[in-house]
């Protein structure tokens, strides 16, 4: 393979994602626009119209149909892509199960936006945390660079024949989607060679008609197929670790592992975050370190498969761990908290606390993270809602 030629440009997260789609040699795009995802699909429509991207763009009347379209096109062997957000993802929910259950290795970008009511167009991750059980792999991006890289890497992982599960890559609304920052554009030929063409062992072929997803009796292979999905997702972690390392070497990229440990060596207290809210958390950790406080951050890059082993290793020696949720669940702690506690159960002895932040686009500031670190040392074990009811 040739040496990587790279060039850096300023672009928004949505532009970075669209560029990642182009670099992935996608053949079919089908999507329904929704704020703040809109500029991804506008950019892709432009690329298809001006010939920059040799793909078919299928206009549809809803997100449910967008997902149905890309499942079908992917099943013919054409690499396919869609993107959505918020209520669009909820409307798509049924077909998310179909995509994963039919083992269609799609990649979809989701710009995380709050769920109404009350109506909100701003950032929050509840939309995709609600999809954690659909059989899709989940990646939460911290930067526009990761947003681009995760599309390319996403196809490589999803299409791995030992995995064959779809992947969604997430961008926080506005914080990444509409923020411009420097991004290294990966070399197109290198990316094309890296991914090659989609190669499915099962394809829709009109010369050899076959049924997909038909009725299976209770003693048929239904449970076996579900277990195979679960095993594939579970075993994906090892493959992903290798593929990230390959990606970094090939593109001179800097993707973390399934998680990123930030100033975790010798840390007494640490937070766990996912997505672009991690950046301000890092800024805060650096600031508190300068004051002599031994604090750190664990960032979830992958959320499905859940990186339990990485977290177990990272929390060794901690006196307190705080799990930060930019999502809301009712009647139980947050989903990340439950997953973390489950991964540590009877294997690590560290107090774990839970924080809810940034719902409906509420800005997450340095002082909010400072408050969480203070609470880790002094607080009780109640779930804390940060920056709520104070002006």
């Amino acid at each position: 393979m040739e040496a990587v030629q790279s060039s850096r440009r300023i672009m928004t997260g949505n532009e970075a994602v669209a560029t990642g789609v182009k670099l992935s040699k996608v053949k079919v795009v089908s999507a329904y626009p929704i704020t703040p995802q809109t500029t991804i699909v506008e950019k892709l429509a432009d690329m298809v119209a001006n010939g920059e991207l040799d793909a078919k763009y299928i206009e549809v009347e809803s997100e449910h149909s967008a997902m149905a379209s890309v499942i079908a096109s992917e099943l013919t062997g054409a690499r396919s892509y869609t993107a959505s957000s918020s209520h669009g993802i909820l409307y798509m929910h049924e077909n998310l199960h179909w995509a994963a259950g039919m083992r269609v290795p799609l990649v979809m970008s989701v710009v995380n936006r709050a769920i109404g009511p009350p109506w909100s167009i701003w950032g929050e991750q509840t939309d995709t945390f609600n999809q954690k059980d659909t059989g899709w792999m989940q990646v939460y991006c911290e930067s526009n660079q990761e947003a681009m890289d995760s599309v390319i890497l996403g196809y490589k992982i999803a299409e791995n024949k030992k995995i064959l599960l779809p992947l969604m890559n997430m961008l926080d609304a506005f914080t990444l989607s509409h923020t411009s920052e420097p991004v290294e554009i990966r070399d197109e030929k290198t990316a094309h060679d890296y991914l090659g063409d989609l190669d499915l062992d099962f394809k829709i072929d009109y010369k050899n008609p076959a049924g997909y997803g038909s009725l299976v009796a209770p003693d048929g292979p239904f449970m076996e197929m579900k277990k195979d999905m679960r095993d594939s997702m579970y075993n994906a972690a090892g493959i992903i670790r290798e593929e990230i390392s390959n990606f970094n070497n090939l593109f001179e990229a800097n993707l973390p592992g399934l998680t990123e440990n930030f100033m975790m060596e010798d840390a007494d207290y640490a937070l766990i975050t996912a997505g672009a809210i991690s950046s301000t958390a890092k800024y805060t950790v650096r600031k508190l370190r300068e004051k002599g406080q031994k604090v750190g951050l664990i960032r979830l890059y992958f959320y499905r498969p859940f990186p339990g082993e990485e977290i177990l290793k990272a929390v060794k020696g901690l006196k307190g761990l705080g799990v930060v949720e930019r999502n809301v669940s009712y009647g139980q702690r947050g989903p990340t908290f439950e997953d973390v506690v489950s991964a540590l159960y009877r294997r690590a002895d560290v107090p774990v606390r839970n924080y809810v932040v940034g719902l409906g686009g509420r800005d997450i500031r340095v002082k909010d993270y400072e408050k969480m670190f203070e609470n880790l040392v002094e607080g009780d074990n109640e779930m804390e809602w940060i920056n709520v009811g104070v002006k």
Partner: protein, 181 residues
């Protein structure tokens, strides 16, 4: 790290101004981020946009609360928005208007420029909707010393889809006509 907050009205180009400024600093090998405070997009409604510039990669992603500089694209906003809120005591403020328009100017380094007239003179927008975002950056280059005039011009040529020459002229004229206070 240097933080700039833009105040404009929907349609005036505040978001583009924040991106052009970021691009100019990027051309000078800085790390930058530029982002809007995204309201519901309506022409004429107050719009805020932000730019951060640093020598190293920027981690802070919250909004800007204590800017080093403020740029006001529409002086009528000063009646409805506290444009100097949080501005550092040694901060810089650029106003599209005439000397004295900013009432509490005493503490700050203020640059005034009639960006509206300059924009119209150069065919940017029309009298009801002048596009002042590039002209005001000429004033910013003069007052702040943060990025060079040439980088602002280059970034503008890279960013604007049409009337590149007119925009660059407007920047030059604004640079020359800015009054410091």
């Amino acid at each position: 790290m240097y933080e700039i907050r833009f105040h404009g009205r929907g349609g005036q180009g505040a978001v583009t101004a924040s991106k052009i400024l970021a691009t100019a600093a990027f051309l000078e090998s800085k790390w930058v981020t530029s982002f809007p405070f995204f309201g519901t997009e309506r022409r004429g409604a107050p719009v805020t946009a932000f730019t951060r510039i640093d020598e190293k990669k920027i981690e802070l992603r919250s909004q800007i609360y204590e800017p080093d500089a403020v740029v006001v694209l529409d002086k009528s906003l000063m009646k409805v928005v506290n444009v100097t809120e949080g501005l550092k005591s040694d901060g810089v403020i650029i106003v599209n208007g005439k000397t004295g328009d900013l009432v509490e100017a005493g503490k700050y380094r203020v640059g005034y420029v009639d960006a509206t007239s300059i924009a119209l003179r150069n065919g940017l927008g029309d009298p009801s909707h002048p596009i002042v975002n590039t002209a005001i950056l000429g004033a910013f280059a003069k007052v702040s010393n943060l990025v060079s005039l040439q980088s602002i011009k280059n970034a503008t040529s890279d960013t604007v889809p049409s009337k590149k020459k007119e925009n660059v002229n407007a920047i030059q004229e604004a640079y020359e006509e800015t009054e410091l206070n």
